[in-house]
Symmetry: none
Subunit: 201 residues, 4 copies
Amino acid sequence: MSREESQAQTRERLIDTAQQLFVANGYGGASIRDIANKAGYSQGAFYSNFASKEDVLLELLRRHMTAEATHLSRVMSGDGDDSEQIFAELDAWASTLNHDADWCMLSIELQLHANRSQTFAVEYQKVWDRHRSDLGQVIGQLFHKLGRIPPAEPAELAAAFMALSHGLALQRMSTRPDPSGSLIMAFLRGLIANAEREKAG
Amino acid sequence: MSREESQAQTRERLIDTAQQLFVANGYGGASIRDIANKAGYSQGAFYSNFASKEDVLLELLRRHMTAEATHLSRVMSGDGDDSEQIFAELDAWASTLNHDADWCMLSIELQLHANRSQTFAVEYQKVWDRHRSDLGQVIGQLFHKLGRIPPAEPAELAAAFMALSHGLALQRMSTRPDPSGSLIMAFLRGLIANAEREKAG
Amino acid sequence: MSREESQAQTRERLIDTAQQLFVANGYGGASIRDIANKAGYSQGAFYSNFASKEDVLLELLRRHMTAEATHLSRVMSGDGDDSEQIFAELDAWASTLNHDADWCMLSIELQLHANRSQTFAVEYQKVWDRHRSDLGQVIGQLFHKLGRIPPAEPAELAAAFMALSHGLALQRMSTRPDPSGSLIMAFLRGLIANAEREKAG
Amino acid sequence: MSREESQAQTRERLIDTAQQLFVANGYGGASIRDIANKAGYSQGAFYSNFASKEDVLLELLRRHMTAEATHLSRVMSGDGDDSEQIFAELDAWASTLNHDADWCMLSIELQLHANRSQTFAVEYQKVWDRHRSDLGQVIGQLFHKLGRIPPAEPAELAAAFMALSHGLALQRMSTRPDPSGSLIMAFLRGLIANAEREKAG
DNA sequence: CATGAATGAGACTTCATTCAT
DNA sequence: TATGAATGAAGTCTCATTCAT
C-alpha cells in the first residue's frame, strides 16, 4: 500500500471510530484515547490527523453535510408531477431516515456541541442554514406540485421535520425501534391534506 | 427556620442549580463542584443530599414526570365536545411547550443519559412509558371527540409529538427562537384533517 | 494533629518540594506529578492547594520577597558610622548569599518565568522593583556613611549586585563552589575606593 | 546552488532558528517541531542534520566558544601600555556585551542545561574552563599593565564578570534595558583603583 | 448536616524520536 | 537528504467520590 493510501486509511478509520463513539457515548463521553485505541492507533496518531477533538467533529459535520446534500438532490431529481409518484419518492427518503439512526444521533451531538462551543457553532450554523433551506425547497416544490399552499415557511417546515426525525432517533436509542419513517410521512400527508389550495391561475 | 426546613432548602437549591447546569452544559459537562458552589454549598453538602451524580438526575426525572402529569391532567380535564374549544386548550398547551425550552433540554439530557446508563434506563423507562401512554390517551380522546380514527397507535403519535417538541428545543438553543408551538399545532391539525372518519355508530 | 495543621503541613510540604524541584530541574522541567509524589501526595492534592503550577511559583515568589526583606532590614538596622563595622555587616550579608545558592537559583527561575509568562510578569515586577529599591537604599546609605558619591544610581548598583550574585549561582551549580561572597565584597570595596568624595559640607 | 551548499544552508537555518527559540522560550520550551517549521523544514530534516535536540545545543555551544575566542583575541591584541588606551578597548568590549543580550541568554541556557544533563555537562565544562582562563589572562594582563595586583585569581575575576554580564542579561529581558556595559566598567575600574600596587621590580 | 482536603482515574494535548517512503 | 505520519511517554488539569472533622 502506498504511503498516501495508508495515511488516508488511518484518517478514515479514526473518523469512523470517532463517529461510532460519539453516537454511542456522546461527544463528551467519547475520549480520544478510546477512539485511537479502538481504531488501532496511538493517541499521537490522532493528533497527527486532527488538530483537536473538535476537529474530528468538524470533519464529521462536513461529511454529514455532503451526505445530506446527496440525499436531497436525489429526492429533488424526480421530475414527475404525479402526486403518487412524488409520495413514493418521499416514502423512500423517509424510510432511509429510519435506517439511519446513527446519522440522526450524530446530528444531535453536533447540535448539542454547537450549543456549547462558540468556535464550533460558527461552522455548524453554515451547514445547518444550508441544509434547512435545501430541504425547505424540496418541501416547497412538493406543495406546489400538489397545488397546495404550505401552512408555514417551507424552511420552517423543513426544520420541523428534522426536529421530528432527531427527536425520534433519540427515542429509538433507548426503546424498541419504531416506525419513524412512516410517522414522518403521516405528519407530512396530514399537513398537505389540511393545506389550503392554491388559486387556480 | 427549623432544621428540617433548612435541609429542604439546601436540597431544593441543589436540585434547581443542577437542572440549570445540566441544561446549559449537559449532564457530563456539569460538575458536582460547580453545582454545589453555584448553589452556595460545598461538595460535601451535595453528597449529604444525594447518593451520587446520577441520583440528582433521578430526582429531576421524578419532578419532570410530576410536572408533565399535572400538565396533562389539566389538558384532559376539559369536558367540552366542541372541537374549537378542544383546539383552544391544545393551543394553550402547545404554547407552553414553546416557553419551556429548559424542560425540553432537560428531557433530552434524561433521554441521552438513559441511553448510556443501565441503572438509569430502568427508572427512565417507567416514566417514559407512563407519560407516553398518558399523552396517547389525550390524543386518542381528541380524535374520538372529533369523530376521527387516529392514523397510528395514539401512543406512537404521542411519542412523535414529544420527539418533535424535543427536536425543536434542540434547534432553539442554537438558532433564533422559532414558533415551535404553532408548528406542533399545524402538524396536529393536519393529522386530524387527514384522518379517516369514524363510522357513525 | 488538627485538621488545619494537617492542611498547612500538606501545603508546606508541597511548597518545599516544588522549590527543590524548580531549583534542580527548572520550572519547566519540574512536573506537578513529580512534585506531588516526592512530597508524598497525589496530584489532586496539589490542585486542592494551588490553582495551577504557576500559582506555587507565585507563592515561592512571595516567600522570596519576605525572606529578602527580612534579610535587608537586618543589614539596614546597623547604626554604626564606623566604616569597618559597616563592612563587617556587609561581609556577613555577602557570606549568607554564598550559602544560599538555592535561593539564587530560584530567583533565576522566577526571572526566567517572568520573561515568558505575562500573568506572572506582573506579580514579579512588583517584587523586583521593591527589592531593587530597598537594596539600593542600603547601598546609598553605605556610600553616604563613607562619604562617597555612588558612581551610578544606587538602585542600578543594587541590580548589578543581584545580577552578579545570580550569575555566580548559575556557575556554582555546574562547577565547584567558589567564594562568591568574597568576590561580591571585592567588587563593592573597589566601587567605593574608586568613588569620588562627597564635598565636605 | 550545489547540493553541498544546499545542505549547509539547511543546517545553518536550523541552527539559527534553534538559537532564536532557545533564547526566547528556553531549551525545554522550544520544540523541535517549532524549530523545524520556523526554519521552513520538516522534523525529519532536523534529524538528518542533528542526532538529537541536545546535539544542536552542542553546536551552539561550539559557535559560542568560537565567537568568544574571537572576541577576546581582539581585545588581547592591543599592545599599548597606555592605560587610557586599554580602558578604551575594554569599553568597546563592554558595550558589545550590552548589545548582545541574545548571546548572554543563550549562555544562560547552556549553563542551565549543563546543570541538568550529564552528557552535555562534559562538553560544556571544556568550553567554560577554556573561556574562563582566556578571559582571566586578559584581566591578568590588564592589571599587570596598570601595575596592580589582582585582588583574586584572575580566572575567578573573569568568572565574576561573566556572571555579572549574564545576570544583567537576565534582568534586561523583563525590565527596561539598562546600561550593563557601563556598569561592568564601573565595577572593573573600581576593582583596579582598589588594587594594591605591584612592587616596583 | 455540612465541610473541603485528598484521592485515583482519566481527560486533552505536546513532545522527542523513529522509520518507511 | 528530506518528509511527516506514527509512537509512547509524559505533561497539566478536572472530576466523582470519600472521609475525618
